[in-house]
Amino acid sequence: MEINILTFGQITDITGKTSFIYSDINNTDSLIKELTKAFPELTSIKYSVAVNQQLVHVNTVLNDKDIVALLPPFSGG
């Protein structure tokens, strides 16, 4: 099972890459925990999580090939 992670804006400044893959992660809470272990600076920043382009606000089950995006505060316009 593969989960695709996408990062944007200042999150990419922290992770150093715009996309990468995690295996064997079953839900968003576990994913965030793993990411925070890998990139401790993530705790210093506010961001939202989208699964397959939908914002999720609670722990969400992840399936193979799901796309999880880490979205810092929007600043378009």
Partner: protein, 147 residues
């Protein structure tokens, strides 16, 4: 399932004033329009810690942004009785003094056009996954924050 026609919102670089003029001109054949409301976002030369912003570099989560713009379009047409609606947002680098957002609504009466335009701008600012990187004169940067 029929594939929806997605209106192209993102333009590469700045939106030119001539483009705005031409967009307005195209509406002269729609003679039931009584009012147009236009919002333009222009890149400001904010000074932060003594350094002046010279440009904003816009990036987006393109697939989600396109979907979000489409959702905003549909919600706006549902809420307001509009004749026309156009949204353009810059992608990539836009210098200070240049335009990065162009929202254009038209209706029979003014209040609908004005309210719809404001509604769209507010939703874009808060809901569309676009990020502006403010580039300073010395090429250092900071991420823009919307208020």
């Amino acid at each position: 399932m029929e594939k929806k026609k997605i209106k192209k919102v993102f333009v590469e670089g700045a939106i030119s004033p001539e483009f705005v003029g031409e967009s307005i001109a195209k509406h002269s054949t729609k003679k039931d329009i009584g009012a147009h409301s236009i919002f333009l976002g222009q890149v400001r030369n904010d000074v932060i810690d003594g350094k002046e912003v010279k440009a904003i570099d816009y990036t987006s989560y393109l697939e989600m942004a396109v979907e979000k713009f489409e959702e905003i379009r549909e919600d706006t047409f549902g809420k307001f009785d509009l004749t026309c609606m156009h949204i353009y947002h810059s992608h990539g680098c836009v210098n200070t003094g240049e335009i990065s957002l162009f929202v254009f609504t038209s209706s029979k009466h003014r209040s609908l056009a004005i309210e719809a335009c404001t509604y769209i701008v507010n939703r874009i600012k808060s809901e569309v996954p676009v990020w502006g990187k403010e580039i300073f004169e010395d090429d250092s940067f900071q991420w823009k924050i919307n208020n």
